[in-house]
C-alpha cells in the first residue's frame, strides 16, 4: 500500500503546487488522477515515486508511506524498487541501444545475477506481450513499441506499483485500446497502478477510482461525458472551384518500406479535411509530400496549376502554412514576436498593415503580453498556439496541420478550431491530422482515412466513421474530448 498523508509541495520561489493532499493506492487497483494542464499532476506523480524530494528541490511537507516504510528514510534506489514511474515522453527514457540492454538496465544496476536478469527479461516482455522486440535496436522502434519497452524496463526491477504520467498522449485509438488491456493485465498480476491522465476517456473504462487535482486539492471525481460538437452549421466545400492542391498517383518509400502507395487527392477551397489513420499509416509522410518537403518517387503534385517541384521553398511557403508535430522543432527566433512575424519578414510582407493585423491576432490568442518572452519558455500549449499563429501569419490559402490539438486545453482547442473555421470562411482549405473523431465530426466537412499508405475511405465524417465501425475499427469513433 502507498499512502500519502498531508502532502504539500512547492517549487523554489513559487506558490504551492498542491496542499494537504491525501492519497492511497493498493495493489490490484487502477486509480486515475485527472486535472487541468498545470494543476500539478506530474508533480504529484514525482512525489509518489520519490523523485521529489530526492531529485527535485522544493519545499516538501507531509509524508508518504510505502509498504509501512516512510519514503523520507529510504534512498531513491530503494524506493524505485517498489514503485516505478513511466514518464510521458518514452523517447527520452531509453538510454541504451538495444531492447535487451534496456530491459536489463535496472537489474544490472541492482547487481542482479545474469541468469536471474535473463528470466526477468522474459517475464517483463511476456507481461507486455512484446517478446518479438527483444533483438531490436531501440531507435528503430515505433512510438507505441517504445512505450512498451519503457514499461518493460521498469517491470524488470520488480516494483509493486507503477505510476503512469500521461500514458496515452501520443497513442492512436488502437494504441489506447492496447494500453487499456495492458492496465488490466498489470492489475491481474497484482500491480497497483496510478494513471495521471488528461484524456479521461482513454483510461476511464479500466479505472477503479478517479480523482481530480484542481486548485491544489485532490478530490474524488465522477466524470460525465461531455461533447464538444459544434452548433454552427458546417460550411460546404466549394467543389466547383479549381482545387488548391492536387496530388495524382503519388508513391513514396523510405529505403524499401513503402509509405505512400499510389495515392491521389485533391483539396478544394472551403474544405476542412480531417486526416485519420493508425500510427504508421503514412499520414505525416503524406503531409510532407503535399507541402513539397519530400518529393514523391512517382506521381505529381500541383499547387494551384504549378508543379510543386518547380516552385522554390519560399513560393510554397507563401501558399501553405504548416504545423509539425513537435512544437520545439519549428521555433527559430528569440522572442515570441520575432518568431510570430518571421514569415512576414522572409516573404517581404512586414509592412504596417500586416504587422498591425498580426498584433491583433496575437492579442486574441492571449500571447500578446508574452511578446518579448523567449518562445521556448512558453508552456507546451502556448508553443503549439504560437506554431499555429506563425504558420498563418501571412494568410496562406492552404493550412497543413499535424496533430495540432495534442497538449491543448479547452481554450487552446477552441482557438485553433476557430482559426480553422475563419480560414474556411475566407475561402481557404485545411488538412488536419488528428485522432480525434469529435473534431472531425464537429468541424470537418471531409474525412480521409489512410491505411498502409493508401486512402481507405474518403467522404463526410459521419459516413467514413460509420464505415470504419463496419470494418471493425470502431475505436475511432470514441476517443478524444472530455479532456481537462
Amino acid at each position: 500500500m502507498i499512502e500519502a498523508k498531508n502532502l504539500s509541495f512547492s517549487y523554489p520561489f513559487s506558490s504551492p503546487v498542491f496542499e494537504e493532499v491525501d492519497f492511497k493506492l493498493a495493489p490490484k487497483e487502477v486509480v486515475v488522477i485527472t486535472g487541468p494542464t498545470g494543476s500539478g499532476k506530474s508533480t504529484l506523480a514525482k512525489c509518489i515515486t520519490g523523485f521529489i524530494p530526492h531529485h527535485v528541490d522544493g519545499t516538501y511537507v507531509g509524508s508518504i508511506i510505502i509498504n509501512d516504510h516512510d519514503m523520507g528514510d529510504m534512498s531513491l534506489a530503494d524506493i524505485s524498487r517498489l514503485v516505478g514511474l513511466v514518464q510521458q515522453d518514452s523517447e527520452s527514457q531509453i538510454c541504451t541501444l538495444k531492447v535487451l540492454d534496456e530491459i536489463a538496465f535496472g537489474p544490472e544496476n541492482f547487481l542482479v545475477k545474469r541468469n536471474d536478469i535473463l528470466s526477468r527479461i522474459q517475464e517483463s516482455l511476456d507481461a507486455i506481450d512484446s517478446h518479438h522486440l527483444i533483438e531490436r535496436e531501440t531507435y528503430a522502434l515505433s512510438g507505441g513499441e517504445k512505450k512498451r519497452i519503457v514499461i518493460a524496463s521498469i517491470l524488470s526491477s520488480l516494483p509493486q506499483y507503477i505510476v503512469f504520467d500521461e500514458p496515452t498522449s501520443n497513442l492512436d485509438p488502437q494504441g489506447i485500446k492496447q494500453f487499456q488491456d495492458l492496465l488490466l493485465q498489470l492489475k491481474e498480476n497484482n500491480f497497483g497502478v496510478l494513471c495521471i491522465e488528461h484524456n479521461l476517456n482513454a483510461v476511464l473504462p479500466v479505472a477503479d477510482r478517479t480523482l481530480k487535482l484542481d486548485d491544489g486539492k485532490l478530490v474524488s471525481y465522477n466524470p460525465v461525458y461531455e461533447s464538444t460538437e459544434s452548433n454552427s452549421p458546417r460550411i460546404q466545400p466549394f467543389l466547383f472551384q479549381e482545387p488548391l492542391l492536387s496530388a495524382s498517383q503519388i508513391s513514396f518509400s523510405y529505403d524499401s518500406k513503402i509509405a505512400i502507395d499510389n495515392l491521389s487527392l485533391s483539396i478544394y477551397p472551403g474544405e476542412i479535411i480531417a486526416l485519420m489513420g493508425d500510427n504508421g499509416s503514412g499520414k505525416t509522410t503524406l503531409l510532407r509530400l503535399l507541402s513539397g518537403l519530400l518529393s514523391p518517387d512517382f506521381g505529381q503534385i500541383f499547387l494551384g496549376d504549378t508543379h510543386i517541384e518547380k516552385l522554390s521553398s519560399k513560393d510554397i511557403a507563401k501558399h501553405t502554412g504548416i504545423v509539425f508535430q513537435n512544437p520545439v522543432h519549428q521555433i527559430f527566433e528569440k522572442s515570441v514576436w520575432q518568431e510570430y512575424t518571421l514569415g512576414l519578414r522572409i516573404l517581404g510582407l512586414d509592412d504596417i498593415y500586416h504587422l498591425e493585423q498580426a498584433e491583433e491576432k496575437l492579442k486574441k490568442y492571449g500571447l500578446f503580453e508574452k511578446k518579448n518572452d523567449n518562445p521556448y519558455s512558453l508552456s507546451h500549449g502556448q508553443k503549439r498556439r504560437l506554431n499555429v499563429l506563425s504558420s498563418m501569419v501571412h494568410t496562406p490559402s492552404l493550412l497543413i496541420f499535424d496533430e495540432p490539438f495534442i497538449g491543448q486545453d479547452k481554450v487552446g482547442r477552441t482557438l485553433i478550431t476557430e482559426s480553422l473555421l475563419n480560414h474556411q470562411k475566407n475561402g481557404g482549405a485545411s488538412i488536419v491530422v488528428t485522432h480525434d473523431s469529435e473534431f472531425s465530426k464537429g468541424f470537418g466537412n471531409r474525412l480521409v482515412f489512410l491505411d498502409s499508405g493508401a486512402i481507405l475511405l474518403d467522404g463526410t465524417p459521419e459516413s467514413v466513421l460509420s464505415h470504419l465501425a463496419l470494418l471493425g475499427k470502431d475505436e475511432y469513433d470514441f476517443s478524444g474530448v472530455n479532456q481537462e
Binding site: Y11, P12, V56, D57, G58, N374, Y376, S377
Partner: protein
Amino acid sequence: MNSSQSPRLKTYEIVTIAILGSLGGALSTFIGYLGNLVNLALGVPFGAGQFMAGLHVFWLVLIRIFVPRNGAGTFGGFLKGLVELFTGSTHGLVIVLITLFQGLLIDLGGIAIKETPETDNFKRFLWWLVAGVSSASNVFAFQFIYFSGAPWFYIALIAVLAFCSGIIFSGYFAWETIDFLYDTGVFSFHTQKQPPPTKERKRVIYRNIPAIAFVLFLTIGSVYYVGFVARAFVDPYACEVVGLVEQPYVYHPGTFPDESVTIEAELQGAYTHLPPANYSGVPVSRILHEASPLPEASMLRVVARDGYSARFSLADVMTDSRLILSVAEDELWLIAADYDGAYWVHHVSIFEVY
C-alpha cells in the same frame, strides 16, 4: 548550476555531457555543409573548414559551462570525438585525439579562470580567449598528421583564422546561446542560479560590447603580428648552427657581407641535371667556423624546413670552398658543387654538427 559538493558527477550532469556530445557529433555534418556554402560564396575551394572550427569547440564550451566541473570539458571532448568516430568521421581515430585535446584546453582554461563567467566581463574575455586557443589547436594537430613542410607562415595564418573562428563561435556565439538557453527554462529544476530577471532584451549585445571590442583588438593585433612581426622569426633566410659547437648562433645572409664568393657549378641529379651556372654565397666552412665546432665533432647534417636532410663529413666540409649557402627566392639553398643533386638542399634551416 551548483558545482560544489561531491566530486562525483550527478546523473543529470553525465546525461548533459552525453547529450551535448551526441548533438555536437550529429551536427558536425551540418557544420561541414555550412562550411561548403561559405566556400562557394567566397569562391574558394577550401579554407572555410577552419573558419567553422569554432563551431566544433562550441559544444565543449557549452558542456564545461553547463557542467562546471574540472574534467567535464575533457570528458565531453573525448565523448564527442568517439561519437564522430562511430559515425564515420573522415578523420577516423584522429578526431578523438583532437577533440580530447580541445576539451582538455577548455578545462585548463576553466581551472585557471575558476568561476563561471556570468558575473564578470574580464572573465568572459578570458573564456573567449581559451575558446579561441582551443579552436586553433586543431590546425597544428592536422598539420602534424597530414602535411609536412608547409611554410610556418601559412600555418600561423590558418591558426589565426581558426582562433578568430573560436572567438566568434565558441566565444561570442556560445555565450549568446548560453544566455538564451537559461532564458528558455529548459534547465527547469536543476538550475539553482537562474540569472535574475533581466531589464531589457538588448542586454546580450550590450553586455558583450567590451568583450567584442577587446577581441577585435586582439584579433587585429594577432593578424598584424603574424603578418609582419612573426615573419621575422620564421625568416626563410635564417639558418641555425647547432650541435657540437662552442657558440651556436643563427646565420643570416647579412652576417658576413664581405665573404660571399661566386662559383660555377652544375647540378648532376640522378634523373635530371641543370646546366652550369654561377652561384654566389658564403662558404659553409666560414659559417661553421664562426660557431667553432668541438674537436669530437665529425659530421654535419644539413636539415631543410620540410624535414629533408643530407649528411656530410665535417672534415670535408671545412676544406671545401665549393660548398656554399646561397640566397635564392624565399630560401637558403645549399650549393654542393662537388656532390650529386640530392645534396643540393633547398630551404636550409639547420646546420647540425655532431
